[in-house]
């Protein structure tokens, strides 16, 4: 089993967030919180990302985008919803164009509460996501081994 949890690469997507949560996400990269010490890289490329971090709810316009970004990410992948908006729709819940939280469109693994979510909470969520990422990666390798055995 390879150890992949030392190198989680993030894809950060801003749904219909008020930008409050985005600023907190970026704060995690600053010297005070420095998530790079866990090997986290904020990559802009879904093809290279492991953890999909979304702030803000889903609206009618970005639903297709979120779906496509999710599909472009190679397995194993983990989705983290950051902020109340991303969890349930939050204060924007009743807007005419808001469909709700991120889980209305793609399966969410980790919910990080808060308005705005604090950097500590975000890092906590990411650390949980990393563990899940390792678990899924192990399962994937197990499956590969089994299918190889079957072929023989």
């Amino acid at each position: 089993m390879g150890n992949v949890k030392r190198s989680p690469w993030l894809l950060h997507y801003d749904g219909s967030s008020c930008n409050g949560c985005d600023i907190e996400v970026l704060a995690c990269l600053t010297p005070v919180y420095d998530v790079e010490r866990f090997g986290v890289i904020n990559t802009g490329d879904p093809m290279q990302a492991d953890i999909f971090l979304i702030t803000g709810g889903i609206n009618t316009q970005n639903q297709a985008v979120v779906k496509q970004l999710y599909d472009q990410m190679p397995k194993p992948k983990v989705v983290v919803a950051v902020g109340v908006c991303a969890c349930t729709g939050g204060v924007f819940k009743d807007c005419y164009n808001i469909l709700g939280g991120v889980d209305t469109t793609i399966p969410v693994d980790i919910y990080v509460p808060g308005c705005a979510a604090r950097p500590q909470a975000i890092i906590d969520g990411v650390v949980k996501a990393v563990e899940l990422f390792q678990k899924r990666s192990d399962e994937m390798e197990q499956k590969k081994k089994e299918s190889r055995k079957e072929q023989k």
């Binding site: 390879g2 030392r6 090997g39 990559t43 093809m47 290279q48």
Partner: protein, 288 residues
């Protein structure tokens, strides 16, 4: 002959290790310069390990073939260099390899990687004159293009070729994809065109690309060292110190400068090459 074989085998085995460590050191020092703790020095190895275990999404089957060709030509370049063969030939093969990378970026039809490929082309245009002039400098200083002859010379090449050295170190920033010249594969914090040439590379392909970067770094650092090596064994120590100093300088430049546009890069690179290497060339020609 045995020296050549040892050189090649050592390069094949040690280059990824050394390149990865240098890369890890780079990230650690960069983080410290920004007042952060930074990742562990082994981080690049963790990254590559992970990339090999991810699901391999194939955008275009030709891409894998092209990237493999890129890696192989790069490894071949380094092998030739460490076997002590012709320096000029090394750089020609290296340029051939660079075209494979551009093709690998173009075959996917993504606008970002296409843009990255055209910027890569401008980068090649910017550094190629300095690279060729460096070879000429070595020839004028030592009377041979062969690496095995250059390291046997009585005096280090640097005394005769400081201008060529300056030009080479300048274009090293372009070659190593560092700010202010990281136009074709924008670095992590700048994502104005996602990841440039590597946009459509995931999993295994990206891991291979990373490996090739390490091989290339070691080769380029070898050329830096070549400036300092002469028949005296102690000169190897000087060469290693020089390599570390140059590498540190690159990190410093990377962290203290903002990205420039491609035309500024072209003008700067050609200007420095013409001025530093050109002046050196004229002086050497007159002195001969």
């Amino acid at each position: 002959m045995t020296y050549r074989v040892i050189g090649v085998i050592a390069y094949l085995l040690l280059a990824p290790l050394l390149g990865g460590l240098l890369n890890g050191l780079d990230r650690k020092i960069s983080a410290r310069m920004q007042g952060r703790i930074g990742p562990s020095i082994l981080q690049p190895f963790y990254d590559v390990r992970k990339l090999f275990s991810k699901q391999f999404i194939i955008v275009n089957p030709a891409q894998t073939f092209l990237i493999l060709s890129y890696v192989l030509t790069l490894v071949f370049t380094g092998c030739m260099f460490f076997a002590g063969s012709d320096l000029l030939l090394c750089f020609f093969v290296l340029s051939t390899g660079a075209t494979f990378l551009m093709f690998a970026a173009c075959v996917t039809n993504s606008p970002y990687s296409n843009l990255g490929a055209s910027r890569e082309l401008v980068q090649i245009m910017s550094y190629e004159p300095a690279v060729l002039l460096t070879c000429v400098g070595f020839y004028l200083a030592t009377g041979s293009f062969n690496v095995s002859d250059i390291i046997q010379s009585k005096m280090s090449a640097i005394f005769m070729t400081p201008g060529f050295f300056a030009a080479f170190v300048f274009i090293l920033t372009i070659k190593m994809r560092k700010s202010p010249f990281d136009l074709s594969t924008s670095h992590h914090p700048h994502q104005e065109m996602v990841k440039g040439v590597t946009t459509e590379m995931g999993a295994d392909n990206l891991a291979l690309f990373q490996l090739s970067e390490w091989y290339e770094t070691v080769f380029l650092m070898g050329v830096v060292g070549l400036f300092f090596i002469n028949e005296n064994p102690w000169s190897y120590l000087v060469a290693i110190l020089a390599i570390l100093a140059v590498y540190f300088l690159e990190i410093l430049i990377d962290n203290t400068s903002a990205r420039v546009k491609w035309d500024t890069m072209l003008k700067l690179a050609w200007g420095v090459t013409l001025f530093a290497a050109g002046t050196n060339l004229i002086i050497l020609m007159i002195a001969r």
